[in-house]
């Protein structure tokens, strides 16, 4: 369970990233956070694994205030929260397997990881993860030989290999075309249901949010302006969240391929 209690974040340059956020995310939920760029979606998601540190309030993950965490606890926290990025963030020169095994870093000692001494169990876990996103045939290819959609699937496999309790996905489909976007979202949703991993996804496409989310949180200027089940959301809700009428580029379009 993740609980934001009156969390605010002001960046060193004075920008207000988050403003008095109060949100509780229950285990197993598939939450989509929507909002225009700069609304604080990314800050919210990065607060959960402390890639950014809120300046006020308390943020409880499994009933512990993670804002007090220092290096060792921080590693533990990050080990149980997997993250997926807009630009996949793979090491382009390394092969797919090495990239996927990087998900085990938090579980592996420093020396072992330096000498590539991952256990047999870790390796088969990595391969299994690749199979789950149907990209196992690329296991020895270099990451830069893959298409964008394939790279994002590898980064999902990396997160799966991490065996996290939470998955944070920061604009995972923003760099992809419509069919691939649906494919990636389908995998995320499937993993959420099968493994019961709480999943929080940032999106700015309205149609995709409505199609995949259990629950939608709307943000504007660092504040949570909407929070409710996806079934209650209409186009009007989005117009309120965005503070303007809906345009064509707010929609991803396309259907599941």
């Amino acid at each position: 369970m993740i609980e934001f209690k009156d969390v605010s974040l002001v960046y060193p340059n004075g920008t207000q990233g988050l403003k008095n956020v109060n949100v509780t995310i229950n285990d197993g939920e598939f939450v989509v956070i929507v909002g225009l760029s700069g609304a604080g979606k990314s800050t919210l998601i990065r607060s959960i694994n402390r890639l950014v540190t809120p300046t006020n309030g308390s943020l409880l993950v499994d009933d512990e205030d993670i804002l007090k965490y220092r290096s060792k606890n921080l590693r533990k926290l990050r080990t149980k929260t997997g993250m997926i990025f807009q630009n996949y963030n793979l090491v382009k020169r390394s092969n797919v397997l090495k990239n996927v095994l990087a998900g085990r870093l938090g579980h592996t000692g420093t020396l072992r990881s330096i000498f590539n001494m991952y256990s047999k169990k870790d390796k088969s876990l990595a391969y299994e993860s690749l199979k789950r996103v149907n990209i196992e045939e690329k296991v020895y290819n270099r990451a830069d030989e893959l298409s964008g959609g394939q790279q994002q699937r590898v980064s999902i496999a990396r997160v799966l290999t991490q065996q996290p309790k939470y998955i944070l996905a920061d604009e995972p489909v923003a760099s992809l075309d419509p069919p691939t976007s649906h494919q990636v979202m389908t995998y995320l949703k499937k993993i959420n249901k099968e493994d019961n991993i709480t999943t929080i996804v940032n999106l700015h496409f309205i149609d995709m949010a409505m199609e995949y989310a259990d629950r939608i949180i709307g943000m504007r200027a660092g504040e949570v302006v909407f929070d409710g089940p996806a079934s209650e959301v209409t186009e009007k809700t989005f117009e309120e969240i965005y503070g303007r009428s809906i345009r064509e580029d707010d929609l991803r379009g396309g259907t599941e391929s």
């Binding site: 876990l125 391969y127 020895y140």
Partner: protein, 264 residues
């Protein structure tokens, strides 16, 4: 969950062979090196114990009475570097055109390229030794050594710049009916001059460092003082010399970086 990974794809025979050859060569190189080098640690350490107090504390307490002499010879060092780099910058221009693929064609540019890389293979100090023998032990030998040494490097860099010029501009000029000289002045030179200047100034930075050691073989500048200071075990004077070199090199590096930023 007991999946086993598929076997790694086999590398081609050529790749494998190449990896083996490289590994063996590297191991051989190191074996050769460690068998060949025989350091006399005992002698070196004894000497260090004996010399440490004479050298290190003195280096850090420079002899300021030598400031005047250091300043004067440092000035000479700057003159040597300046005259040498300027000569080199001028000499390098025609040579760079001769060595540029797109000016001379692939085969005709070969002799120019060879000449430039032959010049580059001579360390500055070796050139200085030759010129000291030829024109006597004075600063002008240093100027010549710097001039020739820098021509090799500048000529190569210049020719690379020429090879990268935008062909479209040249073609545009030719389409306007410009002759070869006109194309050179209106299409080629404007593209290359800022980079040429920038490299020439950069080379001046390098030459300041180079000319400060030429005196070791008698080619003028601060190097002469370095030899005397070490021969006389006058390490506090060496400290002053070091300060002189560090200050001058730093100031010139900064100025040159500033100018180069403005040019390009």
């Amino acid at each position: 969950m007991n999946l086993t990974l598929p076997p790694k794809p086999k590398n081609s025979l050529f790749k494998k062979l190449r990896a083996i050859v490289i590994t063996i060569s590297i191991i051989a190189l190191y074996i050769w090196t460690f068998l060949g080098i025989d350091l006399d640690w005992e002698k070196a350490i004894n000497k260090l114990i004996q010399q440490f107090d004479k050298v290190i504390p003195m280096l850090f307490s420079p002899d300021w009475s030598a400031t005047g002499e250091v300043a004067l010879t440092m000035l000479e060092t700057i003159f040597i570097a300046f005259a040498g780099s300027l000569m080199a910058a001028i000499l390098a221009v025609p040579l760079s055109f001769l060595a540029a693929n797109n000016m001379m064609g692939k085969y005709l540019s070969m002799p120019g390229k060879w000449l430039l890389s032959a010049i580059r293979a001579f360390p500055d100090l070796i050139l200085a030794i030759l010129f000291v023998v030829a024109v006597g032990p004075n600063a002008f030998a240093g100027v010549l050594a710097i001039a020739i040494g820098s021509t090799g490097m500048l000529g190569k860099l210049f020719s690379e710049i020429i090879e990268q010029i935008d062909k479209d501009v040249v073609q545009g000029m030719q389409a306007n009916g410009a002759n070869r000289t006109q194309v050179l002045f209106y299409a080629v030179l404007p593209q290359i001059i800022p980079e040429f200047l920038s490299y020439a100034i950069y080379r001046f930075e390098v030459d300041i460092r180079a000319s400060s050691i030429l005196g070791i073989v008698g080619a003028g500048g601060i190097g002469t003082m370095i030899v005397f200071a070490s021969a006389n075990d006058n390490w506090s004077q060496m400290g002053t010399i070091l300060v002189g070199i560090i200050v001058v090199v730093t100031v010139i590096d900064f100025t040159s970086a500033f100018i180069r930023k403005r040019i390009v």
